[in-house]
């Protein structure tokens, strides 16, 4: 069958034509700008009214948006051709980290490349779904057992390396981005169930043989926060108090006592969601959640409109992974999930993950804006 997505060229206004020429997706850009703006606003309050940190974050956002715009100019075909190389390069860098990486705070994740240090695991966040989409794009779908095994192997290699660093949260999220590709490629429901059972069987083994003590501690703390009131348990207790005391309307900007009196740890990074809850209440959080859902929805829409398998799988995986980040962070801050150290996308203070996220959105924009409109 020929490609037959039945698109009609919609009449575009001036603004739309301009954005299209720049390969920018208007709705997505607007949503991202709204979330980032809200993020800066709350960062100012969460971080002791320090304009210096807000400015630094602003610079990072600028860099991240530029990265997105540059990537949006590349055609999906080009991205597809690059995928295996990026993946291979990323794996090589991870192996390098294993041997030469700089360890920051007890975990070996950073690679010193002269001018700056960076985490190769950031590359893998995009390289893994790209690689899997590349692998499946010209093969008959849904995948058979052999293709499933190959896909899983492509996921296991980088995630095992990242696990050894040790970074449980990141490796699980990267594994998920790959699993999303397999799921979207049409893996049969029966196999999905079997895989889940397998995973449930492996988990206890993993606990005994591969987990570091601090990682086990985090899970134990999750089950009983009071057991570690100084460390992670303290985080969860204080964060629940912050959110709960915020009520429906919140205590008002810069008026959150939990945040301002420094009871809430990691206020500007992993736990910034609690600051929003304390100062803007349920309404503030709901607004943010809706914005995140809309971003995911737009991403999935772009995926369904994509004209080749590679673009479709990749766009779908990027959108779902983005939402997974949101869910893991908000779940952790509200005490639904263990504290795994995942930042709130686009809002938490910090640069590396922001650039990767925006690069992902750049790919979405590239996929959407490089479609060819076919005559009927």
């Amino acid at each position: 069958m020929e490609l037959d997505s039945g698109h009609q060229r919609k009449p575009l206004n001036l603004m739309g034509r301009m954005l299209m020429r720049l390969h920018v997706d208007g709705p997505l850009l607007l949503l991202l700008l709204l979330i980032c703006g809200l993020g800066l606003f709350i960062l100012y309050s969460a971080d002791g009214q320090s304009m210096a940190r807000v400015n630094r974050q602003l610079v990072r956002m600028f860099v991240a948006f530029c990265a997105a715009l540059i990537i949006a100019q590349l055609s999906p075909n080009l991205l597809r051709l690059w995928s295996p190389w990026m993946f291979a390069g990323g794996v090589v860098l991870l192996v390098l980290v294993e041997f030469t990486g700089e360890s920051g705070k007890g975990a070996q994740r950073w690679l010193d490349v002269g001018l700056f240090t960076f985490q190769p695991s950031e590359i893998m966040k995009l390289a893994v779904p790209m690689m899997l989409a590349w692998y499946y794009h010209n093969r008959p779908l849904p995948p058979d057992l052999r293709m499933l095994a190959m896909g899983l192997l492509l996921i296991v290699i980088p995630t095992t390396l990242i696990l050894r660093q040790p970074d449980l949260g990141t490796s699980l999220l990267i594994a998920s981005s790959g699993v999303f590709v397999i799921y979207l490629a049409g893996l049969s429901v029966g196999l999905i169930v079997i895989l889940n059972l397998l995973f449930a069987g492996i988990a206890p083994l993993y606990w005994h043989f591969f987990m570091h003590n601090f990682q086990r501690q985090r899970v134990l703390t999750f089950i009983n926060p009071e057991s570690d009131p100084l460390g992670a348990g303290y985080h969860i207790i204080q964060s629940k108090i912050a959110i709960g005391s915020g009520g429906i309307f919140g205590k008002g900007w810069q008026n959150g006592t939990q945040a301002q009196l420094e009871f809430l740890p990691e206020r500007s990074t992993d736990f910034i969601f609690a600051v929003i809850g304390e100062e803007f209440g349920l309404l503030g959080l709901l607004t943010l959640l809706v914005l995140y859902l809309l971003v995911m929805a737009r991403g999935l829409y772009i995926a369904t409109q994509a004209q080749d398998t590679y673009s479709r799988l990749l766009a779908g995986s990027i959108s779902l992974t983005f939402f997974l980040y949101v869910f893991v962070n908000t779940g952790m801050v509200t005490g639904l999930l263990p504290v795994v150290g995942v930042p709130l996308p686009l809002v938490s203070y910090g640069g590396t993950s922001m650039v990767t996220l925006m690069a992902g959105f750049g790919i979405l924009m590239s996929i959407h804006s490089h479609r060819k409109f076919m005559a009927q």
Binding site: M1, E2, L3, D4, S5, G48, Q49, K105, G106, N138, R139, P140, L141, P142, D144, F180, Y183, L184, G186, S188, L230, Y234, K240, I241, A242, I243, G244, S245, G246, G247, I248, T257, Q258, L261, E262, F263, G277, G281, L282, L285, L286, L289, Y292, L293, M296, A297, L300, A303, T304, T309, R312, G316, L320, F323, F327, T330, G331, T334, G335, L336
Partner: protein, 626 residues
């Protein structure tokens, strides 16, 4: 499902994808709803509960910084301790008229411009008006007294005791011990921030930096009851900090003091090692500076003055100063010649005051213009004959020279246990090929081999490196990694952990007689009739093996005569002396460098003698109470 068709079915694929995407979106929506439900429970259903918890959130966890470990020398003499320092502080909410208060403090001469501007900067950063802001660090006793009598007139201003680092011996061994200073942004990048909660200072150089982890200890916590504004009211419970570990250095204070006193007023360095275990007995670099000033906090003006001082007090000459070794390497070259049998050590050759490579009329001059006359190897070391070593070097060739020199540690770091060491330079053909760009520059010339024979040319060494090499001669080739820390003591358990002696590969060249031959020649330098350093050998109670060296800084033209008096001080030669003693059973190896000191025998050798006396002779030893 029967659709295992090898041909891609795009239409079906697209339809399946849409179903999958919509399913995923629905699951995501469900997850979002879970979070939302959780939020409703927290923020609506249990809101009252959490609100009262938030209002009653009275217990804050505060860090209690550990006390830093102490540092002692090998005899137990205290080198770094913690004292109580008083700092003047101001609590903004208790001061009505800030400007007049500051002015009155200035009238009392307790504040200067710099204190005030720093205070105003800190005041802006301080979010809570009930928290004290420091006005002045480290009040002197006299300032403390001056303020104490006026105290009741300054509501909201008070002094507070804080622990502070103090170096009771002042600038003694500052380049080895190092100092602590205020935590900088760069420091924060490399440390575990929770471990440094409440700590204001960190080791910046020397042992203080290299053994930071041992010295620091582990942070403690206390639960403090605070009121709604965050003011501390009461301590509920405490998990006390674990104090840092004490360090026992290999340094010997009397030896170190002798070195610094002997160097006083000059730019130079002394390194003394125990040749049989690598213990650093003295490590001096002059001029030094007062580490207490750093612990107290230097004003930017004071810092700039030290930084821009032309005699570079911050430079640790012992580790980072790189100089041509001059004649001090002649014993090693002699050993190399014996190893490769390129000469008969008893055969005499004639020194006429200059040397020319056969077929070339360029004259490489001896320091003694009229020449030394008939010389064998021992004579040439004793009298430091340049011509003999020009020829020796040419016969050995640069490849063999650099091979042997590298065995003695030239061109690489000794890996002493503090930072800042430089590797010096041992030139070779490969080095020239890498270092230079044009083919003409990349060629190794015989003339370069000739001047390498007297430690000139491109060769560079640090005093520590030369001490390491000298110690290796003393031990007939056994080498040990130099180290400053001998033992680490856990203050809570009293447990002492001795640092291991680290033997390195033995230099296996020549036969034992060759080594003794060279050592005898070095004894001749100090005790022989015509030895270049015979002046320091007079009336010594022990036998010394040594070698003088003079490193040229200023190149003398082919037909000029060298005249010290005509040269500016900074163009004068660097003076070296290397030695070990007692010659038969060495206990100390010493290297002395005096920048622009002129002659090794006149300037450097007497310093080495004082250092060795301080270590070897009983009358200079500290009273050990027996």
């Amino acid at each position: 499902m029967s659709g295992r068709d090898p041909i891609k079915d795009t239409g079906r694929e697209l339809q399946m994808f849409s179903v999958r995407a919509i399913t995923a979106a629905v699951i995501a929506l469900l997850l979002a709803t879970t979070v939302f439900t959780r939020l409703v429970v927290l923020q609506v259903v249990d809101h009252q509960h959490y609100q009262s918890l938030s209002q009653g959130n009275r217990v804050r966890i505060e860090p209690v910084p550990p006390t830093r470990g102490l540092i002692f020398d090998r005899n137990g003499i205290l080198l770094a301790e913690n004292i109580t320092a008083y700092q003047l502080e101001l609590i903004p909410e208790q001061v009505e008229h800030l400007d007049t208060t500051l002015q009155r403090l200035r009238d009392l001469d307790l504040l200067d411009d710099e204190d005030e501007s720093r205070f105003r900067a800190n005041l802006k950063k301080n979010a809570r008006r009930f928290n004290p802001v420091p006005l002045k660090f480290r009040l002197t006793e006299e300032e403390l007294a001056r303020f104490a009598v006026q105290r009741q007139n300054f509501p909201g201003v008070d002094f507070r005791a804080r622990p502070a680092r103090h170096y009771p011996l002042g600038q003694l061994a500052v380049h080895a011990i190092g100092y602590v200073g205020n935590l900088s942004l760069a420091d924060l990048e490399r440390i575990d921030n929770t471990e440094y909660a409440g700590t204001t200072h960190i080791g910046k150089t020397g042992v203080e930096r290299a053994y930071e982890d041992e010295l620091h200890g582990k942070v403690g916590y206390q639960h403090v009851v605070v009121n709604a504004q965050g003011r501390s009211l009461q301590i509920l419970k405490r998990s006390p900090p674990i104090p840092g570990k004490d360090l026992y250095l290999t340094l010997d204070v009397p030896t170190q003091r002798a070195a610094e006193e002997a160097l006083d007023g000059r730019r130079g360095s002394v390194v003394a090692l125990d040749p049989f275990n690598g213990e650093v007995l003295a490590l001096a670099s002059t001029p030094g500076y007062d580490p207490n000033a750093f612990a107290r906090g230097l004003s930017s003006r004071e810092y700039a003055r030290l930084r821009d001082d032309p005699s570079t007090p911050f430079l640790n000459r012992a580790l980072s100063g790189q100089y041509p070794p001059g004649s001090t390497i002649k014993p090693i070259l002699g050993l190399a010649a014996l190893h490769y049998h390129t000469l008969n050590p008893w055969e005499k050759s004639y020194c006429q005051g200059y040397y020319s490579i056969p077929g070339n009329d360029h004259r490489y001059r001896d320091w003694k213009i009229e020449g030394h006359g008939e010389m064998n190897l021992v004579d040439a070391i004793e009298q430091s004959c340049d011509v003999y070593f020009y020829q020796l070097a040419l016969e050995l060739g640069i490849d063999r020279i650099q091979l042997i020199m590298k065995l003695f540690g030239f061109g690489s770091r000794t890996n002493i246990d503090i930072r800042g060491e430089r590797s010096g330079l041992m030139p070779s053909r490969e080095w020239k090929k890498k270092r230079f760009k044009t083919p003409a520059e990349r060629v190794w010339f015989p003339g370069e081999t000739v001047i390498t024979g007297i430690g000139q040319g491109s060769t560079l060494t640090t005093p520590l490196q030369l001490a390491y090499a000298t110690a290796a001669i003393a031990t007939h080739g056994r080498r040990f990694r130099p180290r400053l820390v001998d033992a680490v003591r856990d203050r809570t358990s009293g447990e002492i952990e001795q640092r291991a002696v680290e033997p390195q590969m033995v230099i296996n060249i020549g036969v034992p007689g060759d080594w003794q031959h060279i050592i005898d020649a070095m004894i001749g330098v100090v005790h022989g009739q015509r030895g270049t350093a015979r002046a320091v050998g007079l009336n010594s109670e022990y036998r010394i093996a040594g070698k003088t060296g003079t490193a040229q800084v200023f190149t003398v033209g082919q037909d000029e005569t060298y005249d010290d008096l005509d040269l500016k001080e900074t163009q004068r030669d660097h003076a070296w002396f290397v030695a070990f003693a007692p010659a038969a059973k060495p206990r100390i190896a010493v290297v002395v460098l005096v920048e622009n000191g002129g002659s090794g025998s006149g300037t450097a050798a007497p310093i080495a003698r004082r250092v060795m006396d301080a270590y070897l002779l009983d009358q200079f030893r500290p009273d050990d109470g027996t």
